[in-house]
Structure formats: structure tokens, C-alpha cells
């Protein structure tokens, strides 16, 4: 059962390990700016992060934010102004800014909760056997998670046992691949047809992809490190308790 008074650092569910961790509030705010919702994912707020990321994709598409961004970076400001849909853009902007602020504020508070919970040192559960899944803490290599998510965002999340997020990311990556035509364009690039490769790409959908990939790599990498820390703390708590001895004598007399 949930111990509301003295929670441990992590809790196991069928969807994986939900845990408290130290995060730099500025880093969290940065990821919220890169892709609204990502900052909340790094704080383990999975439902609101998913809803925020869904709202980002849809409202961005309706408001043509990505197209406007591309034109702005290329210096075509009139084109950027004409493509943005004011019906959606103002609401998008408000949600965007508040999302950044909200994740920043949450990170500061959760860092304090982390410190408190660390000091109380309640035993962290190490394995959960559920009707449809087995979840456990194990030691993993951060770089492996990062490489998996580089190859296909979502695979790094599978590596850290967070399978719900993994398939959510993989489904979206397929959608981005389909609409942006990135892989067709890559094929043309490898065949040496640079012009053809550039013309195939769909700018609106392509522009989601660097952010999603970067976020997926960062999430897999840092979560692996945090899981490794939790593993060490949990094993230490467990074995210290099991082999508790104050009067263990190696030499014959008490010194």
C-alpha cells in the first residue's frame, strides 16, 4: 500500500518504476521549451506529460508553428507572418510559456521532496510481480539506452522498462517518419541525389523530429543513471537489514 507519511524514493507499478530524483530546474525548463511535456516526463509526471505532448503536436499543426519557425530562421519574416494561424497561435503561446514555468516550479519542489525522502531512507521495493508484467530494478548502461533511442526513439524507454512511454514514442516516431518522408529522403541522400532528397522532405513534420529524438536520448540516458543509483540504495538498505550485526567478532576479544 501507499505509505503517504513516509514514501520511499521509488514505487513500482505495472508501467515501470516511478521515482523521485534530483533535477536541474533550468534543464527541465529547457526541455519543456524544446517540446512541451518533456520536462514533465523527466519529473515522472507521465499522464500530464503525455497530454501536454499531444496538445503540442495538434495545436502546433493547426497553428503552423513549425512552418513559421522555419521561415523565421531562414529570414523570411513576411512568409512566417502569413502562415501562422492567429486562431490557434495565441493559445499555443500561452500554454507553451506556462508549461515551461510549471515544470520549472515542479522541479524545484521535487528536489526538496527528494532530499527529505533520502534522509528518511525507507526501503525501496526492488521487484514487483504483476498479473501482466514483471518490473524490477537492475543495473544498466546509460549509453546503451541513449544509442537505442538514437536508432529509434522509444527503444531506449523499452530498455529502462518504461514500456508505455516506449510504445507511445515509437508510434509517434512512425507517424513522423510517414509524414516527413525522412527515410525516403535518407535513401536518396545515400544514393547521392542531394536535390531529390531535399525536395521529398515535409518541413512541418520533420521539425518535430530532432526535438523528439534528443528528448528520447536524454530521457533514456538520465533515467538509466537514476535507476542505477536507486538499485544501489535499495540493495544497500535490504542487505544491511538482513545482515545486521553489531557484535560480529573477527578477533576473539572485543577491542
Amino acid at each position: 500500500m501507499i505509505n503517504e507519511h513516509d514514501p520511499s524514493l521509488a514505487r513500482m507499478s505495472v508501467f515501470g518504476i516511478t521515482h523521485l530524483q534530483k533535477q536541474s530546474p533550468l534543464m527541465i525548463a529547457w526541455w519543456s521549451a524544446v517540446f512541451p511535456g518533456f520536462g514533465h516526463y523527466f519529473l515522472n509526471h507521465y499522464i500530464r506529460a503525455t497530454l501536454l505532448s499531444l496538445s503540442e503536436v495538434f495545436i502546433n499543426t493547426f497553428a503552423h508553428i513549425n512552418d513559421a519557425m522555419i521561415y523565421s530562421f531562414c529570414g523570411k519574416f513576411e512568409l512566417a507572418q502569413s502562415v501562422v494561424q492567429p486562431k490557434w497561435a495565441f493559445g499555443y503561446l500561452i500554454i507553451y510559456m506556462i508549461t515551461i514555468w510549471d515544470s520549472y516550479r515542479l522541479a524545484i519542489y521535487q528536489n526538496k521532496v527528494f532530499d527529505l525522502t533520502c534522509l528518511k531512507n525507507e526501503q525501496i521495493s526492488r521487484i514487483g510481480i504483476f498479473p501482466l508484467e514483471i518490473q524490477f530494478l537492475d543495473r544498466k548502461k546509460p549509453i546503451v539506452g541513449a544509442v537505442y533511442s538514437f536508432l529509434f526513439p522509444g527503444l531506449g524507454q523499452l530498455y529502462i522498462h518504461r514500456f508505455g512511454l516506449a510504445f507511445y514514442a515509437m508510434i509517434w516516431w512512425w507517424i513522423y517518419l510517414y509524414f516527413s518522408k525522412l527515410h525516403e529522403s535518407l535513401l536518396q541522400l545515400m544514393l547521392g541525389n542531394l536535390q531529390a532528397s531535399n525536395l521529398i522532405l515535409q518541413q512541418h513534420w520533420l521539425l518535430f523530429m530532432p526535438s523528439v529524438m534528443g528528448g528520447a536520448i536524454f530521457h533514456a540516458y538520465t533515467t538509466t543513471i537514476e535507476h542505477n543509483k536507486l538499485y544501489r540504495i535499495a540493495q544497500r538498505q535490504y542487505l544491511k537489514n538482513r545482515y545486521r550485526k553489531d557484535d560480529f567478532l573477527i578477533f576473539h576479544k572485543q577491542v
Partner: protein, 149 residues
């Protein structure tokens, strides 16, 4: 007799302890001591005390931002969005990595050895049990094993 095995924290450590407890060794004969990290007055800020790992994080954050800008600008450049995006990521990663690495370089601890023992398992036993216990410790990936003779 005393036998000591040094381990990394892993599931093999627990396998070793459990196998020993299921043989002729009782729990009272086993002492598990967790080794602490070297206390250092100067800590680098970040998730770990490994400067490369922290620099990688900053590098990734910066690479993502630069990749978005690179891909955007790429739509008007000859090389196109894919190559410009990748170049942006590479440049961004290098900048982010360097921005963390160089200011923290002097504070970071010197290079560590490959495997650091994290746990010492101390077992008190009869002489006849010694080689059996030693085999178990080695089998479950002890880093080193030592005995008193």
C-alpha cells in the same frame, strides 16, 4: 578462518550470499560492509561525479536545440535539412560538452580504475569450508577474494 570477497553491487552478489546461506554457512557467519565513495571536498555540480557523463547531458540538450535550428535553416541551403540538422547537432553537442567540461575540468576527480569494489563480504568459517566458499565467491563475479591463513 576469515575469507573476504569484494564485489560490485549486482544481483550476483545476492546470488552468492543466498547460495552460501543455503549451504552450511549460517547468516551469523556473514558480514556485509558497504564501501562509501571517496569523500571529496570539491563536488562537481550535476547528476554524477563523472565529468564526461554530465557533459554528455549538457551536450545532448544543446545538440537538440542546434539540430532544430540547423534543419530549419537547411531548407534554404544547398546541403539540405538532413545534413544541416546533423551538422547542427554535432556543433551543438560540442559546444554544450565544452561549456560543461572545461570549467569543471580542474574540479573533477582523477581517472578511476575500471571496477571499484562497492561491497565487502566477510565470512567466518571452518578451514574445511574455505575452498568451497572461495569457489562460490569467484563464481558470482567477486572482484577479488582474500583469505586468512
Amino acid at each position: 578462518m576469515i575469507i573476504i570477497g569484494m564485489f560490485e553491487q549486482s544481483i550476483e552478489l545476492e546470488q552468492a550470499l543466498t547460495v552460501l546461506e543455503n549451504s552450511s554457512i549460517s547468516r551469523d557467519q556473514i558480514l556485509v560492509v558497504f564501501m562509501d565513495d571517496k569523500p571529496s571536498p570539491i563536488q562537481i555540480s550535476g547528476r554524477t561525479q563523472n565529468i564526461h557523463s554530465n557533459a554528455f547531458e549538457i551536450g545532448m540538450a544543446s545538440a537538440t536545440g542546434c539540430a532544430v535550428i540547423g534543419a530549419s535553416v537547411g531548407f534554404t541551403l544547398y546541403l539540405g535539412p538532413i545534413i544541416c540538422g546533423l551538422l547542427g547537432a554535432l556543433i551543438g553537442f560540442t559546444i554544450g560538452y565544452a561549456l560543461y567540461y572545461f570549467p569543471n575540468k580542474s574540479k573533477a576527480q582523477s581517472k578511476k580504475t575500471k571496477k571499484i569494489p562497492e561491497v565487502a563480504v566477510i565470512i567466518q568459517c571452518a578451514k574445511s569450508q574455505l575452498s568451497f566458499i572461495e569457489d562460490i565467491l569467484w563464481k558470482y563475479q567477486a572482484i577479488t577474494v582474500g583469505k586468512s591463513h
